[in-house]
Symmetry: D4
Subunit: 227 residues, 8 copies
Amino acid sequence: RRKGFPEIIFGEGKSREHLLGIFERLMRFHKKVVATRVDQEKASYLTANLKERYPTEHFEYRNDCNIFYWISHDYVEIKKPGYIAVVSAGTSDFSVAEEAAVTAELLGCEVKRIYDVGVAGIHRLLDKIEMIERSRVVIVVAGMEGALASVVGGLVSKPVIAVPTSVGYGANFRGLSALLTMLNSCASGVSVVNIDNGFGAGYYAATIMAVIEQAIAEAKALGREEK
Amino acid sequence: RRKGFPEIIFGEGKSREHLLGIFERLMRFHKKVVATRVDQEKASYLTANLKERYPTEHFEYRNDCNIFYWISHDYVEIKKPGYIAVVSAGTSDFSVAEEAAVTAELLGCEVKRIYDVGVAGIHRLLDKIEMIERSRVVIVVAGMEGALASVVGGLVSKPVIAVPTSVGYGANFRGLSALLTMLNSCASGVSVVNIDNGFGAGYYAATIMAVIEQAIAEAKALGREEK
Amino acid sequence: RRKGFPEIIFGEGKSREHLLGIFERLMRFHKKVVATRVDQEKASYLTANLKERYPTEHFEYRNDCNIFYWISHDYVEIKKPGYIAVVSAGTSDFSVAEEAAVTAELLGCEVKRIYDVGVAGIHRLLDKIEMIERSRVVIVVAGMEGALASVVGGLVSKPVIAVPTSVGYGANFRGLSALLTMLNSCASGVSVVNIDNGFGAGYYAATIMAVIEQAIAEAKALGREEK
Amino acid sequence: RRKGFPEIIFGEGKSREHLLGIFERLMRFHKKVVATRVDQEKASYLTANLKERYPTEHFEYRNDCNIFYWISHDYVEIKKPGYIAVVSAGTSDFSVAEEAAVTAELLGCEVKRIYDVGVAGIHRLLDKIEMIERSRVVIVVAGMEGALASVVGGLVSKPVIAVPTSVGYGANFRGLSALLTMLNSCASGVSVVNIDNGFGAGYYAATIMAVIEQAIAEAKALGREEK
Amino acid sequence: RRKGFPEIIFGEGKSREHLLGIFERLMRFHKKVVATRVDQEKASYLTANLKERYPTEHFEYRNDCNIFYWISHDYVEIKKPGYIAVVSAGTSDFSVAEEAAVTAELLGCEVKRIYDVGVAGIHRLLDKIEMIERSRVVIVVAGMEGALASVVGGLVSKPVIAVPTSVGYGANFRGLSALLTMLNSCASGVSVVNIDNGFGAGYYAATIMAVIEQAIAEAKALGREEK
Amino acid sequence: RRKGFPEIIFGEGKSREHLLGIFERLMRFHKKVVATRVDQEKASYLTANLKERYPTEHFEYRNDCNIFYWISHDYVEIKKPGYIAVVSAGTSDFSVAEEAAVTAELLGCEVKRIYDVGVAGIHRLLDKIEMIERSRVVIVVAGMEGALASVVGGLVSKPVIAVPTSVGYGANFRGLSALLTMLNSCASGVSVVNIDNGFGAGYYAATIMAVIEQAIAEAKALGREEK
Amino acid sequence: RRKGFPEIIFGEGKSREHLLGIFERLMRFHKKVVATRVDQEKASYLTANLKERYPTEHFEYRNDCNIFYWISHDYVEIKKPGYIAVVSAGTSDFSVAEEAAVTAELLGCEVKRIYDVGVAGIHRLLDKIEMIERSRVVIVVAGMEGALASVVGGLVSKPVIAVPTSVGYGANFRGLSALLTMLNSCASGVSVVNIDNGFGAGYYAATIMAVIEQAIAEAKALGREEK
Amino acid sequence: RRKGFPEIIFGEGKSREHLLGIFERLMRFHKKVVATRVDQEKASYLTANLKERYPTEHFEYRNDCNIFYWISHDYVEIKKPGYIAVVSAGTSDFSVAEEAAVTAELLGCEVKRIYDVGVAGIHRLLDKIEMIERSRVVIVVAGMEGALASVVGGLVSKPVIAVPTSVGYGANFRGLSALLTMLNSCASGVSVVNIDNGFGAGYYAATIMAVIEQAIAEAKALGREEK
Ligand SMILES: Nc1ncnc2c1ncn2[C@@H]1O[C@H](COP(=O)(O)O)[C@@H](O)[C@H]1O
Ligand SMILES: Nc1ncnc2c1ncn2[C@@H]1O[C@H](COP(=O)(O)O)[C@@H](O)[C@H]1O
Ligand SMILES: Nc1ncnc2c1ncn2[C@@H]1O[C@H](COP(=O)(O)O)[C@@H](O)[C@H]1O
Ligand SMILES: Nc1ncnc2c1ncn2[C@@H]1O[C@H](COP(=O)(O)O)[C@@H](O)[C@H]1O
Ligand SMILES: [Mg+2]
Ligand SMILES: [Mg+2]
Ligand SMILES: [Mg+2]
Ligand SMILES: [Mg+2]
Ligand SMILES: [Mg+2]
Ligand SMILES: [Mg+2]
Ligand SMILES: [Mg+2]
Ligand SMILES: [Mg+2]
């Protein structure tokens, strides 16, 4: 885990009691704690219990992407320059795209969302291409055949993180189709994370943003030295 | 087999002697005979033997797509209106695209080739989109991730026949990637044939062209009656 | 999307509120709106809400294939010549076959249904073959081993759109068996859409019908000019 | 191994010296020895060496199905009533069909061959159906999509042994397509052996013929007793 | 379907009303009607409705293998000599084994059940091997790794019909493991039906029994003639 | 393609004449031209022909990773701060690792190679971990089970690009094993490219380096403005 | 089954009545009876019924790994030297790890648990490596990418039994990813059992412990003889 | 690597020069060096070069399993009690079985070979079962359907290491069939290594033998202390 990054708990497959225990423990040592893959039921349980114990703190649940988090009231986020573009194909990919976007935001990055620009209507995408190109990293979320990653990869020069989703049916084989498409992308500058792994993409993008920030700091330090 | 269509022999897996035998037999009853998947070696054998026996006839071999054929000197092709657009992604898909194009031509159709317009450089494709839309049927040939079929399918209103090719490596799994992409196409109006089956796509397109021709003939007959 | 074709919403994975929103918005600009993959529960919700707001309009739900649609009372359908044959193998494929048939009808085509003619009793199919041959396009819907597509493809000269269904068990692997069968069809003139994608087949057939219609119109125009 | 059946050696993966050794050893104890999957080169080696040592014996090699065998000059075959029908789809399946037919013949059965009756031209099959029905067991050999097994299974009442072949390309996946088709056959009375396993089908058919023969013998014995 | 065999309905995927309709229709023309894959709920519905309409007839439901059937009170079964051995590996394969056994019985065959003789305790199997060898056809039902088919196939000379079951977990992949094992059996005389297809195995065995019976009848006729 | 990046030709599947043609054409408009997947034979052909025509230019062939390139004698590379770490598991992964490293170098990046640090001897890796952490991007190349990506991902905070290789046998399935491992990595900050796609990883890393450089430039510009 | 080992019933797929029947029967002949894969509901039923009939006996249910067992009050366990190390990656693998540990304990072995030492934080594992090395056999339980088995295998010299778990999503394919990883382990001394088969690993480890014990006994006997 | 074990080089994919280099380097620090997967051509090269440099040393090549090794003339092997049983199914599995056996021998273990005891003729296996049971560890090598592992596992109480081989064709899928069989073994006490990984099995068995030896040593030490 990168220094300065909050702790992130993977909520799937953990009981709500277990989750609460880990969450509370982390609150003691950090100012921001995040849990992904938290369903509605677990979220209510966490909120109820945590609110009782920390009545002055604020807990947030994003039910569109199942992320639960706490940011301490005295946490100060330092704004960093540059943004991540999160591009998604269809309305059904929304939840994975949000998982990526919210993860990146919680890791301190600015995100611009460009949703519902699937390749079946490519002109909507072309209209947004400049905004995507001006980003520092691009996340492309697409299910069904996942062609969007190749098209975006071909149009922009920034690193593209492709997230295949399990949206589709039949010969989609729960995301395998989009996964293979993205791995075989004929456009250079595309790498891939696991099916439905919005979190992984958001985290990866934030890692790149952090390297950029660090490089700028070093460059500035060097600049000062050189003066 | 459609009436009026020439006999087409599948050359793969047949010995050259066997091939020659079938070819000659068909020549007795038809004015056009075609054999696909004929390699260089078999083609030379066929040419040598057939030339000897039919010195006044012309035999042609297309070594870029392995099609061998004979059209009788007294065969008259009737020109039909409308054309098929054969669109292909990369230079490596060339041979499958040609198999489709030549097959369709030998079945009496006009073909326009729009090659090397892969999605990694989408503007080359956009420049040609009008010519594609003006066709009656579109064949899209693409390997690697096969995204071209979705993009073309989204841009034109004509029926698209998608041909996945086995071009690629690694997680391409010999064309499986492009095949799944095309079957899951988010654009409507796309149907798929087997991996590398250029012949099947050309034949299918010609079948649609033949239905159109027949429908026009019926409409005209009806028109005359109504008068 | 083809000009003149109604808007078609993919209902799966959309909430009922979301669906209603899209449906209403499209009603404002079109005279026919269609939604596929709408389950019973969503259909009731749509009907109740839409009836309330548009009491004079008629909304229809086909619960055998999960299609919901509205045709404006002042919509005029122009009858086009020729029909699509929808051929299906077993009673379990019924719902996918209906999705294909109803989609094509909503796109303005005439459809003839030839159901329950699986290859295990091939004589029932042979009895209907003339009616199938007289169509302009054939849709073949079959699960289990999907052999029907090859048999029909071998018997008729019209373009065949094969729809594998997920009907079966064991080594059927949710439709994979029928899908592979259809892709490998030894009969020419067969193309394939995704497993259970009745909508796609109906849409594809309608696309071919539209091309035919347009070609006839062009031929007539040319005829007039020539006179 | 059934009593009375000759020894059958699986030649694949054995060196020619090893093969010769086993073959000779078996000749000492039997009057018929058979080796399958023997390529041309091994066959020549076997013939040369065996001829030298047993100059008065006759050795036969069937190069169309790679079976090598010896039948002692004093071996007497007892003719049994009834025959096996070996039905095959295309010319490329010939070699597997022959492996089945020759195996069954070497196990003492009469075989009728009905070749080149693929489903793409179903009328050729229908012409032969009576001859197939009059058999005692049917072997169906088919590659590509393997639909022939279902069609034959639906038309005849005899047990059908289906042999998928690896003939095909692309989404055929070396015979997987035909294998799945046959396992999912909608016609009852079809069982399946391994891809390209003509030997297994011939052996299985001969096993059924042997059971029949034995049952007849028992019935006759019983008849005699009862008298 | 073989002459003399009852009608067999595949109950899966049919609504109870539909099932009842088909069942009743068949009762009008036959003296025995069978439906497989009928769950408890459908069976109760069928019994209730059929009992009401045909109060003097007897309807039976085998809830261990989900077969529902009716045999007319005036149906006379002719006892045929010889039996089918149904061999199964573990207690979890019981239901598929019973589907095979009951199917064969309903097709007029005698069945001997040899259950729970998996290869993990091979001596239990060896104790029964004589009884298996004395049968005319053997059905082997096994899940997990399906090794039982090879072992039985190696020990007996009768045709073995192998039924892989989906019993198992992990790398079993819902029966794929046992299916592949059985297709690759190193023992000759083994053929395979679909995963969990007890019905298919019972039907296939009955088909072989019918051929035997017919061959005996022919032999006797011939015997009479010769006298 | 990123502005400032050289043209990169994919040499696989192109004839040597075709390759030469493209290479020469690009030389007219650029100062650096690169071709990957060029085998020894093609490389000799390119060298011979290009040397003849451009006797004063220098052409280089890296036969350990099959990359052929030309850098114009008057090309000036601007040194950029920071480096890419290329980490590889075994000696058999060497060639893919070099493809990544050389690609990145040709795109103007500094590369540090940390080879032969597979997880079977984890201490060799631990010894190098500081050097890896000090990089800006990490490329991990590993075949067999591909576990190295997870281990490195867990140890460093920099973005990791994982390249599965097809090194291995048996249940490796030509790289599928390592590919799945890397996609499922339990360590965050790992993304994946296609099997054996060293080029893709090198290109991706260079893309990130370019974004960093651009961000520094912008930061400096901003710094100047602010002053 | 090894002499001295208790009877172990596989509870999955057995009805609770069936389970009770087997359990009671075994109690009559043994002093320890174990059933795995017993869910909460079946466990309550077993406890209730067994307690009623054997009020003085103690029955135990481990609901974290679904094992139910009985050890007779007069059973005496002989302590054996040496222990098995059960190492697991994440908290989600807990239940499979416990199945392994409890199985081994019930087979009379001492077990040390080293849990939650996944490769993403390799230092926690390194801290425990000495305790693992001092064991006699190591069981490694890991899901997702399963890399832990390779890392442990590389660090210790003891035989490692790897258990892939189905923990994960997307391209994990229900444990396939971890399974392939473990089979391809680049570290020697690793063997694999089925996905989620904690029981199998525990049993295997106990088998090795028993061989050790027996070898020691033999060595001692020999020692005594030699004296 | 276990202390006292020789260095073992994996020869596949290494050039002969590279191999020679590693081999020589290891010779300087060890008294035994082994290389597996060394083909005939590399072996000759190694022998020639090593003989020249070390004329007094002996180098051995086992061409039936492709293992090349050197044991220093002054190396003293300490005989350990107990043996490993290597059991194999068919003659085609010979080479993998030998890889296992020779590996174990080179690691200082005694090996008994029980070859050609496939399940198709189970009595040959039953004759040898006592010898297998008296071993300390059993290696079972089998291709095709791999059933031998389950049968042996059921008959003996010793740990069984199963090695699937790629011997077979069709639905064998290069060893997948045997691999799945072995992973799903219904017999307890079976673990599995990669397809064709004779080396891995031999190494694993030797690891168990080493643990046994160490345990005996500890027990003796303890015995002495206690006295
Ligand atoms: N059942 C269906 N299967 C696949 N595509 C569909 C289906 N129904 C509608 N569509 C397509 O889905 C698109 C609309 O998707 P959406 O914007 O998600 O409603 C249109 O292009 C339709 O042609
Ligand atoms: N082509 C074949 N495919 C599968 N099994 C065969 C074939 N030919 C012979 N066999 C069987 O292989 C066994 C002999 O194998 P082997 O001992 O290796 O010669 C006998 O059981 C034969 O029935
Ligand atoms: N080894 C490689 N693997 C994948 N893509 C490559 C490789 N080498 C070059 N490329 C890409 O291939 C494209 C050029 O393909 P082509 O036009 O066929 O030469 C460019 O986009 C390159 O970025
Ligand atoms: N969880 C488990 N997974 C696999 N095999 C098991 C398991 N529990 C028990 N067994 C084995 O299953 C066999 C008993 O199966 P059964 O006769 O169906 O109870 C014994 O050989 C046990 O060793
Ligand atoms: Mg790009
Ligand atoms: Mg379109
Ligand atoms: Mg046709
Ligand atoms: Mg039949
Ligand atoms: Mg047998
Ligand atoms: Mg990291
Ligand atoms: Mg180790
Ligand atoms: Mg055992």
